[in-house]
């Protein structure tokens, strides 16, 4: 799928142009964390985040997302952990110089101004001092805070703090940026700015790891996601991989008395046993036999949903419909939202 196609769908999809799968930025294996010898926060979590991609970590409250992020950032010590971050073992302190981190509900020292906070935490990350003052101004401008740089952070709103926090995470020019709820408390304009910023970071070859509850936000920027449920990875993959199974095409047909009969003749094998009896029931579901790639088919009134994900497959169905003399009013590719995926992955049992 190329960029033009995904842009037409209203989002940017997995972009292999920026991704390097040979050397993953994060490659976690069997990460476990047990608190007080009885609370299993994480159970053998394995994750892989390629360099140059935006990765989203999802999960209900208490799933262990923050614990996993904190283990990566050495804030929490794992009970067991293997794997690498930027090619070094998890917990390797010097590697953190190349990692920018925005904690959830972060609290900058109240006596610092925004610019001082950026400079201070960049210094702690070992960033070279040369030109950093200029870089702080540049970062403040990037996050839309240039006029507030000399104001104490104690006077910032939540959204302003988030913006400066992201700037601070980027200050040391990291290869990997870990953001925990980056758009929390940010207004819609700010969210859009942050999304643009994330996409820009990706084009610069940086890897972005986002932990967020805002599924719609993640959906718009993430290349790959993982859903964590009760300390375990329930689902992991690219957005394309995860949604392809549930993608379908919607065909809206012009109503006519002989519509079901024509449909059966147009799509043989789609409706085992015919559709006459099932139409009254509202939905006819069957195994799709005639077109490769389709796994299911639903017919409701004048609406036909066919479980194919690729345009070429949909084209074959379209041809069959036309051959049967049916008139097509509209054809729409539909893919499940991240929220639907999330709910499916988490299930009722995943509720906190």
């Amino acid at each position: 799928m190329n960029i033009a196609t995904v842009a037409a769908e209203g989002r940017l999809d997995y972009n292999e142009k920026f991704v390097n799968t040979d050397s993953p930025a994060i490659d976690l294996r069997n990460v476990s964390k047990i608190y007080r010898k009885r609370i299993h926060a994480l159970r053998d979590v394995s994750l892989r985040v390629n360099r140059g991609e935006i990765f989203g970590l999802l999960g209900p409250n208490g799933a262990g997302k923050s614990t996993l992020v904190k283990i990566m950032m050495t804030v929490v010590k794992p009970t067991a952990a293997a794997g690498m971050i930027l090619g070094k073992p998890v917990g390797h302190k010097p590697t953190l110089a190349k990692v920018g981190y925005l904690p959830e509900n972060h609290r900058f020292p109240r006596y610092l101004t925004g610019k001082q906070a950026i400079e201070f935490f960049a210094s702690l990350s070992g960033a070279a001092s040369l030109g950093r003052r200029g870089k702080a101004d540049e970062l403040l401008e990037t996050v839309g805070m240039s006029q507030w740089g000399d104001t104490k952070v104690s006077q910032y709103s939540k959204g302003m703090l988030q913006r400066v926090g992201i700037a601070a995470a980027m200050a040391a020019d990291p290869d990997l940026i870990v953001l925990d709820e980056p758009t929390d408390g940010v207004d819609p304009f700010g969210r859009r700015d942050i999304r643009d910023l994330l996409l820009r970071m990706r084009t610069e070859g940086k890897t972005v790891f986002i932990n967020s509850h805002l599924l719609s936000e993640l959906e718009m920027v993430c290349d790959r996601i993982a859903v964590l449920v009760k300390g375990q990875v329930a689902v992991q993959g690219t957005m394309h991989e995860l949604t392809s199974r549930r993608r379908f095409y919607l065909f809206e047909l012009l109503e006519s008395p002989d519509l079901p009969a024509k449909l059966v003749s147009a799509l043989p094998g789609a409706f085992p046993g015919g559709v006459n009896g099932s139409i009254n029931g509202g939905i006819c579901r069957g195994e799709w036999k005639s077109v490769r790639g389709a796994t299911w088919c639903e017919f409701d009134g004048s609406t036909l949903r066919v479980g194919v994900s690729e345009p070429t497959e949909a084209q074959e169905i379209l041809d069959s419909i036309r051959r049967a003399g049916l008139i097509l009013k509209r054809m729409t590719p539909v893919r499940p939202t991240l929220e639907e995926l999330f709910i499916e992955a988490v299930g009722e049992g995943g509720k906190p």
Binding site: K70, T74, V75, A97, P103, R107, F108, R110
Partner: protein, 403 residues
Amino acid sequence: MTATAALLLDAYREMNAKRLFTVVLVVSVVIVVVFAGVSITPDGVSIFGFKSVMDFGNNLSTPANFYKLLYVNFGVRLWLEWAAMILAVISTAGIFPDFLASGSVDLYLCRPISRLRLFFFKYFSALFFVILQVSLFSVACFLVIGFRGGDWEPGLLLAVPLVTLLFSYLYCVCALAGVLTRSTMAALLITMTAWFIMGGAQSAEEMIRGAQVFNQIQAERLDSQIAVMQQQLATAPSTQAAAAAVPAEPAESNAPPAKAPTGIVGGLMRDFFAVMPNTTHGDRASIQRQLQTLRTQRAAINVDIEQAHRIVYWLDAPLPKTSDTISLIEREVLPAAHMPQTLELPTADPRGFLQRRYDRNIAETTVNLEIRKRSASWIVGTSLGFEAVVVCLAAWVFCRRDY
């Protein structure tokens, strides 16, 4: 800027942001100004031209000594050791709890800096608060004494390391409490309690030692009385001589109870009765027996006090010597000759009241001199030992904990 320089700059900013830092600084300046406005005159002292007649005895032979005494007793003992110390503890109690608050500690721990290094930076940033304040105050006082007293005493600057040491004894407890509880109020209360215990243990040790010395002096007096009595019995003295040895006084109201009370209070009561004459029937042998009984009891009490002192001494040994540490400044600045003098031996004291006061004064002076003779390495060494243990424990908890 390196991470170290950034942390130092941050420590300064953090300190500078605290209002109490400014308050302490302003009060220090006021004290120094008042200090500079005080001068010694032949009649007493003058403060900004207002004269007050005072007799300082012969302790203040020179203006420099007068200023040093003021510096030690008011500047160090009152201001630095107490008032400024309390303000410093209040100002810095929140450093660790604020640092460890959720959302704050993450910002530090995710850096390529070891936890141990972060801990000690935060720890020393609090000490930096005191170093800066005490340095400003001491240097200002050093200049005042130099210009006004004509004595450029470098020993005055000892206040900087010693007051910082005193603060560090307290702050190690504050850091441990802060790391464990992550609460400023809890850290503050625990630190104040620890300070009270440290000071209390030291005072208790000094008081018991004072009682021990006093008891020994009293025992020596009984020994000399017994010796006199024995001599009089041996030489069959006249009634007048016996009366001279033990002044006559009706015994009905002053005789010791038939069954002598025991313990320290009992001993003191016996002392009271002992200095009272007991010559109802003029039986010197009886007086001698009573004196010997008192002496025996005094010896038993002394054993008890000695044992109590030994226990308290060793309980106090591993604790920080807060007061003794500050006394090291006094030792350096004020020679023993300028220590408070003992009272004159009373010449007319038929009932022994003044003598007891004199003995207490002797005991107090003896204990003060004993404490003054304690080695600085013992005082500072044991205190630093305590601090090292507590700081290591706090660092261990800090490094092992999940945030």
